[in-house]
Structures are given as C-alpha cells and as structure tokens.
Symmetry: C2
Subunit: 186 residues, 2 copies
DNA sequence: GTCTATAATAGGATAGAC
DNA sequence: GTCTATCCTATTATAGAC
C-alpha cells in the first residue's frame, strides 16, 4: 500500500511541534513517533538520517513558512505601515499569541546551535534583511533600518523566551500590538 | 581527607558553564564530570539528587550573582543614569561581551522550562522588578517603567539568542552600548 | 571525598516480516 | 509504508573499596 498515513507535510508539522516544545535534545525518537502516530522504523523510512534529518526538514519547513507568511506580508501591496501590521499579525499567528515557543530560538541555545548554525543564520538573516528593506522603503536610512530590523527580530525572540520561561505571554502580546508604529517612529 | 579538590563554589561555577553552553538536556553527567575534573560518583556525593539538583544549585548561584552584580549596580549610589550604566557593564561582564549564552534563557526553552519554571520566574522577576523600581525613581510613571523594564530584559535575552544562533554578538554589543540612554529617553 | 566497577535504563538506529 | 523485534551505545545512577 503506497499510501502513507500522513502526508509528508503533515508529518513534518507534527515533528515541528515536538521539536519546538521539547528542543532538539529534549525530543526523543519515542516522542516523535508518538506525535506522528508512527513506529520509529516508519520515521526512519521517511527520514533515513534520523533525528538530524527530521530537524533539518522541520527547519526548511519553518523557513518556507516564514518566507511566505511573515516576509510575504512585508512584500505585499499597500503602504509600509499596513505591511508591517500584516507582518505582526503573521507573527501572532505563527506563535499562537505567545502561547508557544520558537523552534529557531530553541535550537539557537544549547548543544543544537552548533549543528544547525547555517540554517539558523539563514532564517534570522531572511527576516532581518526583509524587514530592513521594508524600513528603507519608508525612508529610514540604511544603517538605521538594519538596526531597527535586528532589534525587532531580537525582541520577538526575547519576548518568547520570557513567555516560555514564565508562562506569561504579556510581553509578547504588547510587542505585537506596538510592532508597526514602533518600527516607524521618527 | 575532608578537603575537596574544588570548593563547592568553584564546583558550581564549572557546572554552570556546561549547563549554559549545552542546555539542561544537552549536558550529560559525563560532560559535567569532565568539566569539574571529578568522577561521576563524586558529583553524586556532592549532589545526591543528580543533574536536577546540580541545575537547581546553579540556578541559585546565578540568582545570587544577578542580585549582587546586576541588581546591586542599580541599587548603588549616584544618579539613575549612572546606575543604569553600571548595570549595563555588569551584564556585559556576565555574558562576556555576548560571546556566551544565558543559562536562564536556555533553560526557558525546551523540556527544561517546565521543571524549573519557579526558578525562572523568580530570576526574571528579580531583574524586571529592580529595573522598574529604578526607572520610577527617574520619574517614569509606574506602568511605563514596568513596560520598559520588561522590554530591556527581553532585549537582553533576544540579543543573546541571536548571538548564540548566528555566532555574531553585534546586536548584544549595540544593546549594551545604548542601554541607559534608551531606557531613560522621553 | 574520590575512585573503579557495574548496574539499569533510555535513546538512537537497524533488520526483516508483512 | 508500516510493523515487531532487536541491537548497541550513551546515560543516569548506585555499590563498595580506599
């Protein structure tokens, strides 16, 4: 029967949630198998490289989601302020109003940061570059635009660390609320 | 011979570095033993509760270090701006100019965040409360002072996530440089 | 207080049947 | 493509000598 129980997309989505919530080291093959409803061997059939390959597949999926959802919002039509607002909404959806952590942030700390550095650099760079380009469109000087873009990405990450550590998403919510005006203030 | 090779303080300091660099799940007893120069059994003698007890001892030590170094700087003499500058310097020392990660941030993501939530809440609360109180001294309204304090702590965490993930401490350095003026701007 | 040795288990990964 | 069964290593933890 060549029909898999879950599509590869669905599979990666389940794996994503486990890696995001448990971290790379914290996610065991047993956890990943349980979350997908598959046996461990079936996971190895789909990802012969094991945990490492699963994590890379998940990172690639996140990158795509950020490129279409978050960066896509920036590159749509309308004035810069409206596009930034749509980016903030996309981030709010991505992190479920601050109730879930960030896999990229989780992988960035601890042992896993070394194994996945290229992917992490790529994803952070993608967001910062796109945001900086948009701010330049609004007439903000190049260097200042980049600083603000870095500050915004860093604030998202920091607010999620706080939300995960304390269980309180208030700082994340406030960040999302003030996202666009803050980036454009004189 | 009742004389240990390392004092408990030194012991905890070595454990701290491993937990900070590898994360809770990523730090193995073998890593911890190697870093202290002790056998695994000796570690169990000092910390009968194993990894969990070591992590709690390390968190208590960090809390003390933050209370004396970072919060201590805020509560010293002089005008608020000078005290904030000293706090920024203390943070710069604590994170070695952005070349090392934050254990509290690392423990806040992944599996470990659940086991250590009370300790994490306590440490984040300590910093935010102390910073907010100082900003109120400078005449900033209570709610606004708390928002700014949260933003500052969140920015420190976020800049360290970025530094760890990309290997580039530039955003952290910039944050430290502008720390005091940014908090006090009108 | 530290060590060597060893238990006990969990984790990652593979083999081969269906 | 999925499963059961198994292997092997790493990991946590303990026992007991010195």
């Amino acid at each position: 029967m060549p029909t898999p129980l879950l599509s590869r997309e669905e599979l990666i989505d389940r794996l994503f949630e486990v890696f995001r919530d448990e971290g790379f080291e914290g996610a065991s093959m047993a956890d990943l198998a349980a979350a997908t409803g598959l046996g461990k061997s079936s996971l190895y059939h789909a990802f012969p490289g094991g945990k490492d390959e699963m994590a890379r597949a998940v990172l690639a999926a996140i990158r795509a989601r950020i490129a279409s959802g978050v960066v896509g919002a920036l590159q749509g039509p309308g004035p810069v302020a409206a596009r930034l607002k749509r980016m903030a909404d996309a981030i709010d959806v991505l992190y479920e109003k601050g109730t879930v952590g960030c896999l990229v942030g989780a992988f960035s700390q601890g042992k896993s940061r070394r194994a996945f550095r290229p992917e992490l650099q790529d994803i952070f760079g993608l967001m910062i570059d796109a945001l900086a380009a948009t701010l330049r469109e609004a007439g903000i000087a190049s260097a200042e635009a980049r600083r603000r873009a870095e500050d915004a990405v860093l604030a998202i990450q920091g607010s999620l660390v706080l939300a995960c550590g304390t269980g309180d998403p208030a700082a994340f919510r406030r960040l999302i609320k003030n996202f666009a005006p803050r980036l454009l203030e004189p």
